[in-house]
């Protein structure tokens, strides 16, 4: 592996307070270094181009049984995008549910270097890990689901906080998970009898805990375990008119666990995901509207929360989530195909294809809501740009979404054919805020890496992983707010993507395939507690599951480039 010197690029590195300066970036042995010997390095002339840390996606459904069912469901979606093999790339397919090789290549060709998969049952992590093994080019990790987990609900019911924390630590270590995910907490268990959550303070049947108790208990446990990423929550009531109230209530339940800011930046203890789907006003499908203003006000006044957008892009895509009851509702509303998979003792999932149309009032409201949230929340360190791929839109539309953040003109153009009633009932048209490049980098790299606790990613300081993207955007000639289409085009195909110090993409095309890493977290709890909880789990195992406990555990030998992050728990 030779050294690399990226010369004369316009660098954006918000973590290190670099905002569009012309700086050389030196790379050696997979890391950013202070300098290299130019005569002994590959020199990339980045004059009139921008240089960013590689993209870090905090929430994208790219691997696991649910995504695979989506692939299986939609051969017709694959036929739209057939990717032949090349001398470097394996064959693949896909638009909203791409095959694994194609997923890695397309992300890398967009300059992304880290993508985290946000929801899978612990029971299925062996499958997830194997899909990660076949997803090249990017570093990966997964957030196992805990929100309708029998152990979790029982520990919470019995007020066994320490045991709950130890159980989470055991699970993450055993199945190689990175963070804790809650999806419609309690609701997926209710769905197994055909129901759903009936209120934040209504106990989940048979377990005697409320969704609020699950949210609070899990948030606290995650903090005590010192996990690198906060609790990651898909709130109850997703998709329902008026649900912004549930979101705010959910977030407010955790306010007592707030942490101090550092260096003027917040340290959230909770992450509310794809807020767009959970931030509607109104009371029914006729008067549903954007509730973004209310959520934005709350988030602007509270530092304990971060969010990602889940922005809608008008397209033919696929909704897929652990929120089983929601997907059944969507099936009933749309008459579209429907996959449902309930997973014993833990969680479930649902999948429904959807075509978001500009002319449709509800879809238009959804589209507006996401952008309003992005534009009304002041601090970009709290706002991650996502489409909840593929729920809102496919990840290859990220450049388009970025132009909506950076350019009012771009929003106006796209909005031309959007449902008039939706436009008139919402504020988006009047919002003139435009994200700077720095804001965008925070939202797609620096901020996301920071929220995930990935200290060596999302920035270009010495010691950082050499995950870099060079884009063909000449800021002397292009004003992103005006020539937004040029920005979109450039962001779609990176001029160069560098992964761990190797050039893997040139001119928007993969030139070298690399496997990437799979991160997971090992939170060390006290030995006695760990032992006693493990024997409790063992005792319950035969009753809860249909497999042996030893076969539940994901062996490290099954993981390509297993990369554990060890932390010390406070319990």
């Amino acid at each position: 592996m030779h050294d690399i010197l990226i010369k004369n690029g316009t660098v954006f590195d918000p973590i290190n307070n670099i905002d569009g300066e012309i700086i050389d970036i030196a790379i050696s042995k997979g890391k950013i270094v202070d300098k290299v010997d130019e005569s002994n390095a590959e020199v990339i002339d980045a004059s009139n181009k921008i240089v960013l840390p590689g993209g870090v996606d905090i929430h994208s459904h790219i691997a696991g049984p649910k995504v695979n069912m989506g692939r299986l469901l939609r051969p017709e979606d694959h036929y739209r995008n057939l990717k032949p093999k090349t001398s470097v790339k394996r064959a693949g397919v896909g638009t909203s549910c791409p095959s694994t090789f194609t997923t890695g290549y397309e992300y890398s060709e967009m300059g992304y270097t880290t993508v985290f998969e946000p929801a899978n049952p612990p029971l299925k992590m062996l499958h997830v890990i194997d899909e990660f093994n076949d997803t090249p080019m990017i570093d990966k990790a997964c957030y196992p689901l805990f929100g309708s987990n029998w152990h979790v609900m029982e520990y919470l019911h019995d007020n066994k906080e320490d045991e709950l924390a130890a159980y989470i630590a055991w699970t993450l270590r055993s199945v190689k998970g990175y963070a804790c995910k809650l999806v419609n907490p309690g609701g997926v268990e209710q769905w197994k009898w055909g129901g759903d959550v009936e209120g934040l303070d209504v106990a989940v049947g048979n377990f005697g805990v409320t969704p609020r108790e699950i949210v609070k208990g899990m948030c606290k446990a995650v903090q005590r375990l010192n996990l690198p990423h906060s609790i990651h929550i898909h709130a109850n009531n997703l998709g329902m008119p008026g649900n912004y109230e549930t979101s705010i209530e959910t977030l407010d339940s955790m306010r007592e666990y707030a942490k101090e800011n550092t260096n003027g930046k917040p340290n959230p203890i909770a992450h509310l995901t794809h807020v767009q789907f959970n931030t509607y006003g109104g009371t029914n499908w006729m008067n549903i509207t954007s509730g973004a203003e209310h959520l934005a006000k709350y988030i602007n006044n509270n530092d304990h929360v971060s969010i990602d957008l889940g922005q809608v892009v008008f397209s033919d895509t696929t909704t897929m989530t652990a929120d089983g009851p929601f997907e059944h509702k969507l099936q009933t509303l749309t008459g579209n195909r429907w996959v449902n998979a309930d997973i014993e003792a833990e969680t479930g999932c649902g999948i429904v294809p959807i075509k978001y149309k500009k002319s449709n009032y509800i879809h238009a409201i959804m589209w507006v809501t996401g952008l309003e949230a992005a534009l009304m929340i002041d601090d970009p360190w709290k706002v991650c740009m996502t489409t909840d791929h593929p729920n809102g839109g496919y990840f290859t539309t990220y450049p388009r979404v970025v132009t909506w953040l950076m350019s009012q003109k771009a929003r106006e153009k796209y909005m031309e054919k959007v449902n008039k009633r939706a436009k008139s009932r919402t504020a988006l048209e009047s919002l003139d805020r435009e994200y700077s490049f720095s804001d965008v980098v925070i939202s797609t790299r620096a901020g996301t890496a920071r929220l995930l606790g990935l200290n060596d990613k999302g920035h270009l300081g010495v010691g950082a992983d050499a995950d870099v993207a060079v884009y063909n955007i000449d800021l002397n000639k292009i004003d992103p707010a005006i020539q937004y289409w040029k920005v979109r085009k450039a962001l779609r195909r990176a001029d160069y993507t560098i992964k761990d110090g190797e050039i893997v993409v040139k001119d928007g095309e993969v030139v070298k395939s690399v496997p990437g890493r799979s991160y997971w977290v090992d939170s060390k709890v006290s030995t006695d507690l760990a032992k006693s909880v493990e024997s409790e789990i063992k005792e319950k195992f035969k009753d809860y599951y249909t497999i042996q406990m030893s076969n539940y555990i994901v062996a490290e030998k099954n993981i390509i480039n297993s990369s554990p992050i060890t932390v010390q728990a406070e319990v």
Partner: protein, 433 residues
């Protein structure tokens, strides 16, 4: 003596993982907890092994070195303009990955037993979707279990005690809390054990499902009988389905491989979806081979398609009826076949088998079969889950790790290793060309 715990049984789609295997002097002497099928495999797998790699010379199979077989196989595949690679339901996931890569490299079609088995179920998913779950959900919650065209007692002997009718779950205490209904054309052992057996006429599943769905909508059926069953009984059955707390349908070849095929399962998936308006209902295929589900899983994530994957043009393409092995051979389009761990010559329609042997045929298999007996090249391999480790998927899509229990015979190796050798040789030959 060595005792292995938590062994995953490599026979049927139940993938029971509580087998305790005792090994003495590299021989399996006991397989505790295994059913009759599992025990038979664990104790007898070593019979009828293919003793040596072979190449057919002047119509007679002659022992040769493994290297010669690999070379010959690679030559055949490189030369072919539309080669087929078929089988893999008894191979590990890792082996399947190499097979996919090989198919991509030689520009051929990868197909699998799904094509002649649960393929119609897959087609049902494409058009309707599927309301399903993991087997534990059934054990914990199901009070109504329907076995449709599936003889669980004989094809999946431990299914009832581990996952369904007689199993004990959090909310159900075995068969006293459950109802088992069998819908089949003959009174199977499962039917004999059931609370109710509904016998339907052969090949009339679609008509029966249609009648059931009509009755479910409380609409009149303008007939006396459907599929030989009186309409009153169908209406009663609809009521039973609607009024259960948690129902599940397990379906098998009895309904996937009869008149109607893909649309039978389309009908069952639609029925299950409709039932979710009134109650909780799931449906699951009772997969046969222990890793057929695994082939579908890895093929889907790597290529987007679950079986019948045509990689001849460099990108994955899929359409059962076009890219399925039987249809390709029927049209006489293939010019070489590599079979891995399967016996298509014995099981395919005779006209297809006859055609199959008119083009070069390579077989990778541990034991003799009709296919190996007529193959031009035979490569003996080892048994997954006994002689080599790897991953496999249960019928409900759960991934489990297979163990290596004994050392394989000297001149054999895993499908994974054999396919890797072939792939390497193919690449070598292509460079020369």
């Amino acid at each position: 003596m060595e005792i292995f715990q938590d062994v995953v049984c490599p026979v049927c789609g139940c993938l029971c993982d509580d087998i305790e295997v005792s090994v003495e002097n590299n021989k399996i002497v006991k397989a505790r907890n295994a059913c009759a099928m599992g025990t038979t495999k664990f104790l007898n797998y070593n019979n009828d092994r293919i003793p040596s790699p072979m190449i057919k010379n002047n119509g007679v199979q002659k022992p040769v070195s493994l290297e010669e077989c690999i070379e010959k196989t690679a030559e055949i595949l490189v030369k072919a303009k539309y080669p087929l690679i078929y089988g893999l339901s008894l191979s590990s996931v890792e082996s399947v990955k190499v097979a996919i890569e090989l198919t991509e490299e030689v520009g051929g079609v990868l197909d699998n037993q799904t094509s002649v088995c649960h393929g119609p179920g897959v087609q049902g998913i494409h058009d309707i979707g599927e309301s399903t779950g993991s087997l534990g959900e059934i054990r914990h919650r199901a009070d109504l279990i329907i076995a449709w065209g599936a003889n669980l007692q004989e094809a999946h002997p431990r299914h009832m005690e581990r996952y369904s009718y007689t199993s004990k779950g959090r909310y159900r205490n075995g068969k006293e809390d459950r109802n088992l209904i069998v819908i089949d054309v003959r009174e199977t052992l499962t039917a004999k054990a059931a609370d109710k057996f509904i016998q339907i006429e052969q090949g009339k599943d679609f008509e029966f499902i249609n009648a059931l769905r009509t009755a479910l909508r409380l609409e009149q059926i303008q007939k006396d009988k459907v599929a030989g069953v009186p309409v009153e009984e169908i209406e009663k059955l609809a009521e039973v389905l609607r009024s259960c707390e948690f129902g599940v349908i397990f379906f098998g070849q009895g309904v996937t491989q009869v008149n109607g095929k893909g649309r039978n399962i389309d009908g069952l998936f639609s029925l299950t979806r409709d039932l979710n308006s009134w109650t909780k209902f799931l449906i699951m295929p009772a997969r046969g081979h222990f890793n057929v589900a695994g082939v579908n899983q890895v093929a889907t994530w790597q290529t987007g398609f679950p079986y019948a994957i045509d990689l001849s043009r460099g990108y994955p393409w899929y359409n059962p009826g076009e890219t399925t092995i039987i249809d390709i051979i029927r049209r006489g389009e293939s010019d070489a076949t590599l079979v891995v761990g399967s016996d298509p010559i014995a099981h395919f329609p005779p006209a297809i088998s006859k055609r199959m042997i008119t083009t070069p045929l390579i077989s990778i298999d541990p034991a003799h079969s009709m296919t190996t007996m007529v193959s031009d090249v035979v490569i003996p391999s080892s048994f997954a889950g006994i002689e080599y480790e790897g991953l496999a998927y249960r019928m409900d899509g759960l991934c489990l790790p297979l163990k290596k229990l004994v050392k394989e015979p000297d001149n054999t190796m895993s499908d994974e290793k054999v396919l890797k050798m072939i792939l390497a040789k193919v690449r070598e030959l292509k460079k020369v060309n």
